[in-house]
């Protein structure tokens, strides 16, 4: 039903190629300046691509002006018309489409009910709280029943608690109306919680497009690994194939086996492992992928224990241990073995001088 395919190509957005499925909650994740807002504006029609096309349902919309695309946007600062009250704001779209007044009233009522703001018709935007303004912006866009709804960091201006609440509401809303949502954010937690699929962008290019689980557990590049959660990146040399599966990696003086990641990488590479997959064992334990190290720091978080371990190779890794009720002692300076299980160790291409800063 709603298929959006866009290859935009300006210096800001470079060789972008996205295919978004109907009815999905699709997030574009990245830090500021990565081109995610520009991508959104390309889809909405406020920017023209230097080359490439924007297709909606197979129809080329690249040259259609924004007021004729069946796409609506919720702007970052809502852009609610300050001189109109809530009713007139939401009614703006239908009125411009020459819907007759009775029908306008019905639709506006419906939209406001959807966002739980029935009864607020006469208020002016300045009299509303941030969360309420955001809902009016939503209602204003949804009343037109667009094929795609674009959201540009809509929760950025709200405080943490409100944000969590609205995240859940937005997700539920999307399920309810079934419209494709394209959601732009720099907050990885937001993206992970809400999306069906995430596109991670950096410097105008898409680094990876996948479901949240895949993006977190199986990052395709150093940037993605680093952007979502802690990545424990280490520089290593990729070696040959291992007999039992995976590759042999040389980290300092140690030979490790890594089962995940890009099998074609040769030479200089980066390896990564998530903090929750690292095991801490007392010195002297044998087995593959064990590296001696010392505890530098130990923070008790209640639900978990966070350790910072300095390996003998010089690398610093973060470890997260779930609180299983066992009394664990990790005094500073204690000598331990860090076990990096082969099934959790991932090989990624070394991006060069950037050193993973993306």
């Amino acid at each position: 039903m709603d298929l959006v395919k866009a290859f935009g190509a300006q210096k800001v957005v470079d060789g972008l190629n996205l295919r978004i499925s109907p009815g999905e909650f699709f997030s574009i994740l990245g830090s500021s300046g990565c081109g995610k807002t520009t991508t959104l504006r390309l889809i909405a029609g406020f920017e023209q691509p230097s080359s490439g096309h924007v297709l909606l349902d197979g129809v080329d919309m690249t040259n259609t002006p924004p007021n004729r695309r069946n796409v609506n946007t919720v702007f970052q600062h809502y852009a609610l018309f300050p001189h109109l009250d809530v009713f007139d704001n939401v009614a703006f779209g239908p009125r411009r489409a020459r819907v007759d007044p009775g029908e306008v009233k019905r639709r506006v009522g419906e939209a406001l009910e959807l966002v739980q703001l029935a009864g607020y018709e006469k208020r002016k935007p300045a009299q509303l709280s941030g969360g309420q303004q955001q809902r009016v912006a939503l209602a204003r866009s949804l009343v037109l029943k667009p094929a795609v709804l674009l959201l540009d960091e809509p929760l950025g201006a709200l405080d943490a608690k409100l944000r969590k609440q609205l995240q859940a509401e937005l997700k539920a809303l999307q399920r309810q109306v079934g419209i494709t949502f394209i959601y732009v954010t720099h907050d990885q937690e937001e993206a992970l919680t809400m999306s069906d699929r995430i596109a991670v962008m950096s410097r105008g290019r898409v680094e990876q497009v996948a479901a949240p689980r895949e993006v977190y557990e199986e990052p395709a590049s150093v940037f993605v690994a680093d952007f979502l959660g802690v990545s424990n990146l280490m520089s290593a040399m990729a070696g040959g194939m291992s007999g039992v599966g995976g590759r042999m990696i040389r980290l300092g003086n140690f030979e490790l086996r890594a089962e995940c990641g890009d099998g074609s990488i040769q030479g200089r590479a980066k390896i990564t492992i998530r903090p929750e997959r690292v095991r801490i064992e007392p010195r002297g334990s044998g087995g593959e992928n064990r590296i001696p190290g010392t505890i530098e720091r130990c923070d008790y978080l209640g639900s978990a224990m966070q350790l910072v371990v300095r390996l003998v190779t010089g690398d610093l890794i973060h470890v997260q241990l779930q609180n299983t009720g066992e009394p664990l002692e990790f005094p500073r300076g204690a000598a331990v073995h860090a076990h990096l299980p082969a099934g959790a160790l991932r090989v990624l291409a070394d991006p060069g001088e950037d050193d993973g800063k993306g």
Binding site: N67, P82, H83, R96
Partner: protein, 295 residues
């Protein structure tokens, strides 16, 4: 530490004294002049009792209401102000829209051109205008039309500055939202941009009124004689001659009207932008250009 604090407050107390002293001294002559417009006697310098109406409309020969020369000056000033308002404001709004959103080297040159009248000494503009009427635009004679044209020329810059301040503080977001919701460019202008510009347009109207009423040099250089004299020209003529406090009354009327116009502009502006103060947009930039000039 405490010694330093008292030293500082002593220094700033002198400054406070100077400041308030200056403010009072700068307004005191005007207050006195207005006071003398209520003088019961004929002197402009010695107080002879209070009479509310003698020089405004009481005295059958000399009061503003009865003296034909004073009346015609008042009429002329109002006429020019009306012409100025009705031409300079629309022209200026269009110019502000065009200049703010047009990006090209030609646009910057036009912007410079728009600012020039503000920085040119008035005598130069007066000379230029009267010469061009004499030698080039001979179909124009010194008189009301020429005066009006001159007024509009220097009022334009003020309108542009005021409207532009408002445009910049609005930004493009509302028009983009309108387009996003299906409005054509025309609908976007009509239902979103123009309503949002209304405060600045009203403010411009009032300010053009105040500027036009107070203008002296251009009006004098393009005047056709006694019939085209405006209030400031009358005051100029009267300042050294033996006159009655009717002149004070005339000048006082001008002050009242300017202050009322400014008050209306300010209040209207605040009223029309009341929907914006709590939310993200800030009309602040435009408000400071209402009160003074954009520095």
């Amino acid at each position: 530490m405490r010694r330093e604090a008292t030293r500082r407050s002593r220094g700033s107390r002198w400054l406070a004294l100077l400041t308030w002293g200056y403010v009072l001294l700068s307004l005191w002559p005007v207050v006195v002049a207005i006071q003398f417009s209520f003088n019961a006697g004929r002197s402009m310098t010695s107080w002879q009792g209070f009479s509310l109406t003698r020089w405004y409309f009481g005295d059958p020969v000399y009061s503003v209401w009865h003296d034909p020369t004073l009346q015609s000056a008042l009429m002329q000033s109002l006429k020019l102000a009306a012409l100025d308002m009705s031409i300079a404001t629309p022209l200026g709004v269009l110019l502000a829209l065009g200049l703010t959103r047009w990006r090209s080297p030609l646009a910057s040159a036009s912007n410079f051109l728009m600012l020039l009248p503000m920085v040119t000494p008035e005598i130069v503009t007066g000379v230029a205008f009267s010469l061009v009427i004499l030698h080039l635009f001979v179909f124009l004679h010194p008189g009301t039309l020429a005066q009006a044209l001159g007024h509009v020329t220097f009022s334009l810059s003020y309108v542009v500055v005021i409207v532009r301040g408002r445009l910049v503080s609005i930004g493009r977001q509302y028009e983009e939202a309108a387009a996003d919701l299906g409005a054509t460019p025309w609908q976007s202008l009509r239902y979103v941009l123009l309503p949002l510009l209304l405060p600045a347009i009203f403010a411009s109207l009032m300010i053009v009124f105040a500027i036009s009423i107070d203008d002296f040099v251009i009006s004098q250089w393009l005047s056709c004689g006694a019939g085209c004299d405006t209030v400031p020209i009358r005051i100029y003529g009267a300042a050294r001659a033996r006159q009655t406090p009717a002149v004070n009354a005339l000048a006082a009327l001008m002050v009242y009207s300017t202050l009322i116009a400014l008050g209306v502009a300010y209040l209207l502006f605040r009223f029309l932008t009341r929907g914006e103060r709590a939310s993200g947009t800030s009309p602040g930039a435009a408000v400071t250009t209402v009160g003074g000039l954009e520095w």
